[in-house]
């Protein structure tokens, strides 16, 4: 007897609400499609106009900002998609099951994850957030975040295409990146309360995420898509604007003229990497024309520092880590990549 009652309630529930809800879905689908069509129509109209008389450098600032957005958008989407797969579709313990128990070995294994993931730095932030939601500790996901853009397969292939094995640039980049990621992970694991390394908003989100919600997998996927895009997209847009503005403001020859001194060229390279905010999968091609001007160690510094710390990345990472942590992170990574560069400059 008792079993039939909930069943009939459930049936009643379905009969009552389902049609209304699915009708609503069609309505909102139409609204969404019309909205997209509207934006496309407006773009097609404005695109046909002559430029609005925007002066040279301002127009270039916008061109550069647009370029950063269009270049990073596919990687952000790929990162969100992988984050959805990790959070909503993989069994909870799949990644955890095979990891070693010792924290140091665990982080070493995690720093190698990136080798299977063709995502550059902007896409790794949503993925690293997904790993924290999945139960990784903050230092562990930080290790992943730092190592993955450098040892991802595309980065290795493009770096090899650009430099081959000359001057130890490729090897220096891979080993340097892994070393920095593991050491930074170890440093932050010494923190007594790792969760205070997160922004309040993201920490609250992690706490809420640990409850079970009654959501279908596809609904959960879309929920993750919405959350990640509303966190990341403003950061991408604002980061691109700042990166464009600084590029227009800092003359390139100032940086290049510092190039031939072992120490100054390293600082100039870090500044260049910080300013241009180009993706790790392609930065080797970017720096190739400078290879004759700069020393090999300085090139390695650029290739190790740039994927981890730059204007765009700081804006995106600010969604997850508080400013103080980012400052510590930037300092440690800057010092270590400068050290790696100096060693190569003086030894090679």
């Amino acid at each position: 007897m008792t079993t039939t009652v909930p069943a009939s309630v459930d049936e009643h529930h379905q009969h009552d609400h389902r049609p209304r809800r699915s009708r609503n879905r069609w309505l909102w689908l139409a609204i969404g499609t019309l909205g997209v069509a509207g934006i496309l129509g407006l773009r097609a109209f404005t695109g046909a106009q002559d430029s609005f008389g925007v002066p040279g450098l301002t127009a270039d600032l916008l061109t550069l900002a647009t370029s950063v957005i269009i270049e990073s958008l596919p990687f952000v989407v790929l990162g969100i998609a992988l984050s959805i797969v990790v959070q909503a579709w993989l069994p909870d313990d799949l990644l955890m099951r095979y990891l070693p128990n010792s924290p140091v070995l665990r982080r070493a294994a995690i720093s190698m994850f990136g080798i299977a993931l063709p995502v550059c730095e902007c896409g790794n932030v949503p993925l690293a957030r997904g790993l924290v939601m999945k139960g990784f500790t903050v230092p562990e996901s930080m290790t992943f975040l730092l190592a993955a853009p450098i040892i991802n397969p595309i980065t290795i292939v493009t770096t090899h295409q650009a430099f081959g094995f000359d001057d130890g640039i490729l090897v220096g980049r891979i080993l340097g990146g892994l070393a920095i990621a593991n050491i930074v992970g170890w440093l932050f694991s010494l923190h007594p309360q790792p969760n205070s390394l997160l922004t309040d908003r993201f920490a609250a989100q992690c706490a809420a995420g640990s409850h079970e919600h009654r959501q279908s997998r596809s609904e959960k996927s879309l929920d993750i898509f919405m959350r990640e895009s509303s966190v990341l997209m403003p950061a991408v847009f604002i980061g691109s604007l700042i990166a464009g503005a600084i590029q227009v403001a800092v003359p390139r020859d100032v940086l290049v003229s510092l190039g031939s001194n072992p120490l100054w060229s390293i600082l100039a390279m870090m500044l260049l990497a910080f300013v241009i905010s180009v993706c790790s999968s392609v930065d080797a091609f970017f720096i190739l024309p400078f290879a004759s001007t700069f020393m090999p160690g300085s090139i390695v510094t650029f290739l190790v520092f740039g994927p981890i710390i730059d204007i765009k990345m700081l804006a995106i990472m600010r969604t997850t880590f508080p400013g103080k942590v980012l400052l510590q992170l930037s300092l440690v990574v800057a010092l270590m990549s400068a050290l790696i560069g100096l060693v190569i400059n003086y030894v090679a």
Binding site: V36, T66, M233, R252
Partner: protein, 249 residues
């Protein structure tokens, strides 16, 4: 209102960026911003984001975040971020697409540029035929000019080049740089190259940033105010449309 705007803002921004990308892709203008080898990848990922974005508007998944209300400074910063990213989104839809201009070319040190320094080799070009020379771009000639400034090397070699005008800083009334940007990944890393063209009173006919085709040969620089050894002395100069692929790769 505020929490739901924040919740939907990312979807709105991503759809705006996707629409801008798709439209650029359809009108074949993505090469104004990224290297051609990324065009397919970019369009495919934009398509995925488009489907996810429209689906999330249709499904409107329940909010599981339980977002705390923002107060004080955090609210101000949030509002600023919203405004600023909204402004960027508007420029994505409103501003007609364009290439980088001569302002960036001079800011990125067009004179000292070493882009493609090995794209051509003096010894191999020594006895090149006209057909090969006609295929040379601004980058190729600039690379040769860095290797040798011996006028006899350039005798009987005609250059036929397309580029945009960047004014020379030393002698702006007689010399301009016929320039192009070289792109390795996207417009962010564009690096300018140019060859100096000696054309007194060029401003009467052409404007800075205008695209022109120049034929001529390299001769000793007649200008007293510029210390470049060789300049391109034009036989013909014609204004042309911006090429569909304005950057070199």
């Amino acid at each position: 209102m505020w929490p739901s705007l924040q919740r939907w803002w990312g979807v709105i921004l991503i759809l705006v960026a996707v629409c801008a990308t798709v439209w650029l892709g359809v009108t074949q203008q993505l090469v104004l911003y990224i290297h051609p080898r990324y065009v397919v990848f970019t369009v495919v990922m934009a398509g995925i984001a488009l489907v996810l974005g429209v689906l999330s508007i249709a499904v409107r998944p329940a909010d599981t975040e339980g977002s705390a209300p923002r107060r004080g400074w955090s609210r101000v910063v949030g509002g600023l971020a919203l405004l600023l990213s909204g402004a960027v989104a508007l420029t994505l839809v409103l501003i007609p697409p364009t290439t980088l201009s001569s302002a960036t070319a001079s800011q990125r040190d067009i004179v000292g540029s070493t882009v493609g320094s090995d794209s051509q080799n003096v010894d191999e070009v020594e006895n090149a035929d006209d057909e090969l020379l006609a295929s040379f771009t601004v980058v190729d000639w600039a690379s040769l000019l860095r290797q040798t400034s011996d006028p006899s090397f350039y005798a009987n070699k005609t250059a036929d080049l397309v580029g945009f005008i960047t004014a020379s800083e030393d002698d702006p009334s007689n010399i301009f740089y016929l320039s192009r940007f070289t792109v390795t990944c996207c417009a962010v890393d564009a690096q300018p190259t140019g060859v100096a063209v000696y054309a007194p009173e060029w401003q009467n006919e052409f404007e800075v940033d205008g695209w022109i085709e120049v034929t001529g040969s390299f001769e000793t620089n007649p200008s007293s105010r510029s210390d470049l050894p060789l300049v391109l002395v034009p036989e013909t100069m014609t204004a042309v449309e911006r090429p569909s692929e304005p950057y070199l790769y």
